[in-house]
Symmetry: C2
Subunit: 328 residues, 2 copies
């Protein structure tokens, strides 16, 4: 029997889940739930129903794992503790500072329903976190570095769009190559925010707008841009559409450290991602952890979990024997 997946929220992430489920033949998409009018939501998979979210609880025996595709700011803090009453759930909650609080809320709800939740799944938090953990466990004496990009930051693009006179915009976060090289060399440099990343903006101005003023407002925007070397490029709407409509991302997690009786030997552990589509990759991670949630729940491991609590073999459909034979 296949693992029956539900998708709650059908934006870029929801569509990514749908594509990822198609690639995993031990799973099937059971239903999509939306806060919009279901008749306006057209999904890719034939024969799968789209329901209003209000009908989700009634489907509790027809869905093994519900993947929650809402945003971290307001959706997930409410949705994850709510839906874990009925389903095993996965979310991609990514507000790092609020993870402890979210964990507690979800854990309490999951423990009373006997379901399994895995929160903060994706690549950061997610695969990057895992790589930080493994590298820290191995190299006790060392230093961690995380670089993001080159990739589109939705938050920064939105911030530019709110500037007066801006019609549309895309912002790329770019790691500084020389900083990456210094880290890889094992020198353990101290790097400022400005030394690690630059920000490249592609902006479509409204007709007649004051471009110098826009550029100045972007570059001096606190938190978002003022601590970075930022370049602003004005382009046409057509060019933005043609060259900047993708959602690529990626980054690097590096730990360098020392071993030996007197710390005489250096080691560098590096993990990197180069992604054409941030939401589709995130979705692929979510779907692998959906398999784990289903299996952990079947084994009686209920409550809230993170990627740190999931034994790697749980992510794969192959048996332990097959994994040892082919991947170890």
């Amino acid at each position: 029997m296949k693992i029956r997946i539900g998708i709650l929220g059908y934006g870029n992430l929801g569509r990514g889940i749908e594509c990822a489920v198609k690639q995993n033949d031990d799973m099937e998409l059971a239903a999509v739930f939306t806060r919009r009018d279901p008749s306006t939501v057209k999904i890719l998979t034939e024969g799968v129903p789209v329901y209003p979210v209000s009908e989700a609880p009634a489907m509790k025996d027809k869905i093994d794992v519900m993947i929650l595709c809402g945003g971290s700011a307001t959706d997930l803090p409410e949705q994850t503790p709510e839906y874990v009453k009925y389903f095993n759930v996965i979310d991609s909650f990514d507000t790092h500072a609020r993870i402890p609080e979210h964990f507690e809320n979800v854990d309490a709800a999951a423990k009373s329903s006997g379901k399994t939740a895995i929160i903060s799944v994706g690549w950061d938090p997610g695969m990057f976190s895992l790589n930080r953990l493994y590298a820290n466990a191995i190299l006790a004496d060392g230093k961690d570095y995380t670089f993001w990009g080159k990739g589109v930051s939705q938050g920064h693009s939105d911030a530019i769009r709110r500037v007066n006179g801006v019609k549309d915009a895309k912002q790329y976060t770019v790691p500084v190559e020389s900083a990456l090289e210094a880290v890889r060399s094992g020198k353990n440099p101290e790097l400022t925010t400005r030394e690690k990343h630059t920000r490249e903006c592609f902006v479509v101005a409204e007709e007649g707008a004051d471009k110098a003023a826009i550029e100045n407002e972007i570059k001096t925007m606190p938190n978002y841009f003022s601590d970075y070397d930022t370049t602003v490029n004005f382009i046409s709407e057509e060019e933005l559409k043609e060259k900047h409509s993708g959602i690529p991302h990626g980054g690097f997690v590096i730990r360098s450290g020392r071993t030996g009786w007197n710390g005489e030997n250096k080691h560098v552990i590096e993990y990197s991602l180069k992604l054409d589509s941030n939401p589709e990759f995130t979705s692929s991670v979510l779907v692998a952890y959906a398999r784990a949630a289903y299996r952990m729940n079947a084994e009686g491991q209920s409550g809230c979990k993170t990627v740190f609590d999931v034994a790697p073999a749980m992510l794969c459909r192959e048996s332990g024997e097959e994994l040892r034979k082919h991947l170890l």
Copy 2:
């Protein structure tokens, strides 16, 4: 109370374990066991006894985890099932083809003693295996590549030393940069053995030896060299000592794959290691898994495990709460 570690076998790996234990203050070295005359074995840690291996079973209540530092060819297939009768054990068994058989033997012994064994720990098998598994779980439609080096291959160095007229030798396995680049580009190339790695040999010839004959014998040696582009450099004994006495290694695990309804988006996941000391890094991994074995056994998870079965949080001394706060 600290986790009490025993080391069985005091060569490069055993010494690496000793250094790694020093870096982890939740652990202490309890004893070293050797097959040599203990009076001839000088260890680095003051006040720690060196015993003959025959005395190990008598220490079963004084050691929480025994780290087995023997070789995979003949030592570990006997030692791991034997010592798991008395201790939780870790080994670095690395004969990939014989892992299933070794697993079965160790599992049977561990289940009857109620101890926990984690086998095939290190970086390959070990961290590389884990990265192959995670990347496979995420990118269902993709292709795996593993490259080794630049680093010293002990087996190949030994093979050269057996050639007539060779006094000493070191062999480096070197990944081919253009092959790495082709893989990173997401092109999913088919690569032959020759296209992935080259072999660089540094050879000290006996006085009066026929160097051309030595070079020819190395380059045509089946399994070891004949399938590779091999370069042979004759150097003096002094130069070998001065420039080639380290044991560096490393390598790359890369998976590239596609997502999207029609596979329209490419992704590349890359994990790499650059190690000054192969045995010291391997030891650092073994020690982290020793902590996991101790904790898993305390939780009642006995039997034989591999890195695939160990939840990442088990490797760290920090609590789940601390890990979620600082590393997620």
